[in-house]
Assembly symmetry: C2
């Protein structure tokens, strides 16, 4: 199997420790030999795109992904066109930050029509492919847990994401796999094995804890829950992935810790469980 992954593959999604500014997070990661961070558009805008990029370059930390594009379904054509414009801006921001991956949370049901909303997603992604290709940015469709089907993502399984991506060019459209969203799937193993390595654009880790403290802010620290993290990580590596492993934990208890302590804990658990 080879060795378990080291800190060089670890990426800290900034939503895991939002108390830090981007420069502070970058420095803290560099000091711990953590190779990557994952960014969100809103805090990037607060820091400023140029300042954020500079601080990352100075610290020698790479950007694993930018969150997020998506939310394609909208009630009418004008609103959908606006969403596409916003996605093109997100692509430009990703390129400016030096990451080749924009994560897509595709959006929920509009007009009470699940199937039509799914078609809007497929059409929306197809519409931004040329802009992404020209910018050198890949679009990572992230299937979300089915409990978000109504309001956040009509794409809810790896199979569905894989099939949606397959209709579009492999050099531009792929999948991000977050264990929280897919661990329950009886087909998760065979679906990971079916992925074209070129299409695997991200691997996100955290854990499913019981009782779930909250649908949005209820993700657990790796090792505290039910997900077979090492098993899934080995499967994704066997499928040909060797990129960053991004820790994305939305959890109030983690946010309440001093940031240095939170980061130390994340790194230790990552090394132990992934």
């Amino acid at each position: 199997m080879g060795a378990e992954p080291g800190a060089d593959r670890l990426s800290i999604n900034q939503a895991s420790i939002p108390a830090w500014s981007i420069p502070a997070l970058a420095e803290a990661c560099a000091a711990r030999d953590i190779g990557w961070i994952g960014l969100w558009r809103e805090p990037v805008a607060e820091t400023g795109l140029a300042a954020a990029s500079r601080s990352l370059r100075d610290a020698g930390v790479k950007v694993s992904s930018l969150c997020r594009g998506g939310f394609f379904p909208a009630p009418d054509a004008a609103a959908r066109a606006e969403r596409l414009d916003d996605n093109r801006r997100a692509i430009d921001e990703a390129a400016a930050l030096g990451t080749n991956t924009l994560v897509l949370v595709v959006g929920g049901v509009v007009n009470h029509d699940l199937e039509a909303s799914r078609a809007m997603v497929a059409d929306g992604i197809a519409a931004i492919v040329p802009h992404a290709r020209d910018a050198g940015v890949k679009l990572a469709i992230e299937p979300l847990h089915p409990m978000f089907a109504a309001d956040r993502s009509v794409v809810v399984t790896l199979k569905q994401a894989r099939e949606m991506a397959a209709a579009l060019p492999a050099e531009t459209v792929g999948i991000a796999v977050d264990v929280y969203h897919v661990w329950w799937d009886p087909d998760v193993g065979q679906e990971i094995a079916a992925l074209d390595p070129e299409r695997i654009l991200g691997f996100h880790v955290n854990d499913w804890i019981v009782p779930l403290p909250d649908m949005l802010l209820g993700r657990g620290m790796m090792g505290d829950g039910f997900i077979d993290l090492r098993g899934l990580r080995r499967q994704i590596d066997q499928a040909g992935y060797d990129g960053p492993i991004e820790v994305e934990i939305f959890n109030q208890a983690l946010r309440d810790l001093p940031p240095d302590e939170a980061l130390d804990r994340i790194k230790a658990r990552y090394l132990e469980t992934c």
Copy 2:
């Protein structure tokens, strides 16, 4: 397509209006030409099995299903054997109540091993098949929403339930389809179409509302949410089902209504949406 279903196919799961005793619910249903009710073991035990059966017979209301058997995974062999004994008692209770359907909520993950827990479920159901067959009771595997995978049901998709049932005799083991648990599935249509009509043992309706008030007590009234109820009901009928349509809404706001008002509202919405 034929006419939409009438009150004769409507079943009221007693958890939707728990304020009523079984005799009171049976009378209220009979007064509204509602053909069926769905029961839970605990309130049946409170009323007494014989008294409950008598009140239903007197009212002329049939029992669509008894909830619930299942919870097969357990940390050790002794605990698993105990679960099997409890399932055999549930089968006997279903037979005494005159229903041919025991709903199985199969149980969650034990020993932090999802795959082993799934195997315990398959073994557990197989172990109680002879008792169920002799009692004339069918076992309905109900796939639960993936958000319950850790603690309530390692069976989370129709495909998985269908395949698990297929390994066991069709005259004893089938599926219960609850829209709340399966509506999000990109394969729901093809999976319903793939069901052997003999295996379709129940169809439960309610709705998925946003924001979800609560994972357990957050089901919505039909028509208040995102589920295409008429579409799914037509699909299940086209697959060969013509049995009761059971309204199972766990919702605190509904429980807070006067029971007569709750029942009138359920019947009206059922006629409107199913």
